[in-house]
């Protein structure tokens, strides 16, 4: 449905130099240096194909969806639902109706918390999270827990930055209704054993929500193999546009869930005596959805679909290994998170220099990283740090960019005389 880039795949490897041509921003010069964009965990860059899919739709085909009998509207509706089918295949969902478009991961978690959570949680029930969750997989649950009198518990994180699985059985009680964990930690890069936790949760009678925001850019995702009842993510961290994301939910669960937000598009009939609601997924898509962005998401899935994923994963693993080795040579570096299974993210602190100051020196070196608490304050407390420097990688990053990062870190040490 959208143009793919022919020839981007190189047999047996990844032609990164060629892929980089698809991302014009990677040629930017920042503070007199070539940009080394290592903030992909915050948002990835978008290939030309994604932006063109959005602008082509807006300029040449724009119409609302599920509204009109006219040709453009019908075409837009067909394309919108075709992206839903693309996502179904991308995630290996059973049916396309299990995919709900949202404005992003945060909205998807809030939807599940407010709709599913509010309808099943009773006073004294428990929601099990983990210490490594992003605030967006904590606060929505706190809001619903407060409203219904439920209790939040958290799986502890080990010193290497892995979930302490030994602690899970005791944390799963007959009051646990929901287990919500991240697929990949946005701070540590840890890949969590979702299937094992899902099996334990299901045995205890709980449903499992997986925050896939940092998972989908790096790992092939099969929601059925993972045992996820809900899986949520954002397009903008997987080379797509901001403003759109998705909720996958097992059909039986979604069908039993009440609407969250009311509005146009989610009803069957409306009268002042009462309203009946549309079947899923329309029930959860009140109002005009981000149609343009959905077209961009479709193009992002196409873009990823024409890559050799084994090669992408090999490249990313090699690059992360190289980064760990090279950053580790800088005196005073302490890694936060050294999990056996780690993708895409490298967090560390530089002894005696606040992460913010490291971030500023790196910026002056053309290196874009995130330096903060990464919206994961409980995890920062776990490791006894106020924040970390986080380099996060995408398929277009190179060893030269890692070298530039290391050069910036050495510069920071020089500036601070440490």
């Amino acid at each position: 449905m959208t143009a793919t880039h022919p020839g981007a795949v190189v047999a047996g490897g990844l032609d990164v130099a060629r892929l980089r041509h698809d991302f014009p921003v990677l040629r930017a010069v920042v503070n007199g240096r070539p940009l080394a964009y290592l903030d992909n965990g915050a948002t990835s860059q978008k290939p030309r194909a994604v932006v063109e899919a959005e602008s082509d739709f807006a300029l040449l085909e724009n119409a609302n969806v599920h509204r009109g009998v006219h040709t453009l509207s019908q075409r837009a509706t067909a394309r919108y639902d075709a992206v839903r089918e693309q996502l179904r295949r991308f995630l290996n969902a059973a049916v396309a109706d299990e995919i709900v478009f949202t404005s992003g991961t945060t909205a998807a978690i809030n939807l599940v918390a407010q709709s599913y959570g509010r309808s099943v949680l009773r006073p004294g029930d428990e929601i099990l999270l983990s210490e490594m969750e992003h605030h967006s997989n904590i606060v929505p649950w706190q809001l619903v827990a407060e409203a219904v009198g439920a209790r939040i518990r958290a799986i502890p994180v080990t010193g290497t930055g892995e979930l302490d699985l030994d602690a899970v059985p005791a944390l799963l009680t007959d009051r646990t209704r929901i287990v919500a964990i991240t697929h990949v930690s946005n701070v540590l890069g840890t890949v969590n054993p979702v299937r094992r936790i899902a099996d334990l949760a299901h045995a205890a009678g709980a449903v499992v929500l997986v925050d896939g925001a940092q998972g989908v850019p790096h790992l092939p995702v099969d929601v059925q193999a993972l045992g996820a009842d809900f899986y949520v993510a954002s397009a903008h961290k997987m080379y797509g546009p901001t403003g759109v994301g998705f909720l996958y939910g097992r059909l039986a669960l979604l069908e039993a869930m009440p609407p969250w937000q009311g509005g146009g598009g989610m009803i069957q009939t409306v009268s002042f005596e009462g309203t009946t609601y549309a079947p899923v997924p329309a029930r959860f898509e009140a109002g005009t959805p981000p149609v343009c962005q959905v077209m961009g998401l479709g193009a992002a899935i196409d873009y990823l679909g024409q890559l050799d994923w084994a090669a992408v994963q090999r490249h990313e693993a090699e690059l992360l290994g190289y980064a760990i080795e090279r950053v580790g040579t800088v005196p005073g570096v302490r890694f936060i998170g050294t999990a056996r299974e780690q993708v895409g993210v490298l967090s560390f602190v530089l002894e005696g220099i606040h992460p913010h100051d490291v971030g500023t020196v790196l910026d002056l070196h053309g290196v874009a990283v995130r330096a903060s608490h990464h919206c994961a304050q409980p995890l920062m407390r776990r490791f006894g740090v106020s924040g970390t420097v986080r380099a996060s990688f995408a398929l277009y990053n190179t060893r030269a960019e890692v070298d530039q990062l290391v050069g910036g870190l050495r510069e920071a040490r020089k500036v601070f005389g440490s």
């Binding site: 503070n31 007199g32 220099i353 606040h354 992460p355 913010h356 100051d357 500023t360 020196v361 002056l364 903060s372 608490h373 304050q377 920062m380 106020s386 924040g387 510069e411 920071a412 500036v415 601070f416 005389g417």
Partner: protein, 151 residues
Amino acid sequence: MTDASELYQSLILDHNRAPRNFRAMEQPDRSAEGYNPLCGDQLKVWLKLDGDRIADVSFQGSGCAISKASASLMTTAVKGKTLAEAGKMFDSFHRMVTGAGGPADDLPSKLAVFAGVREFPARVKCASLAWHALSSAMHAPDTASPGATSS
């Protein structure tokens, strides 16, 4: 500005390494906390007043070099000044770091080391965190009861 040492001048590095008046104050007249939710930097400022004059000022907290050095230099700048003079200093400092004006005449010259911050919009809040806390403390009611704060 593309050279880190233009931002991190030696005076800033010195006050980051060895912040002045970095201590809790017993029986302060005023106190207030400053918190930057964006980065988690937090500090507390204490004041001891002699009439409307700042007899003593101290701070404690955690933060980056810019916020710590700014707090430290601020304490050395406002000690002995009247509340009105310190308030004017805050206004001048704020104008300087936000780029609304150059280093003002009424600002002690050493505070001009923060003029470079204006080139770094993300760091303006770091430089002004302590000043905002000071301003809150100056406008806070007297802390007759221990632990009473305003922010």
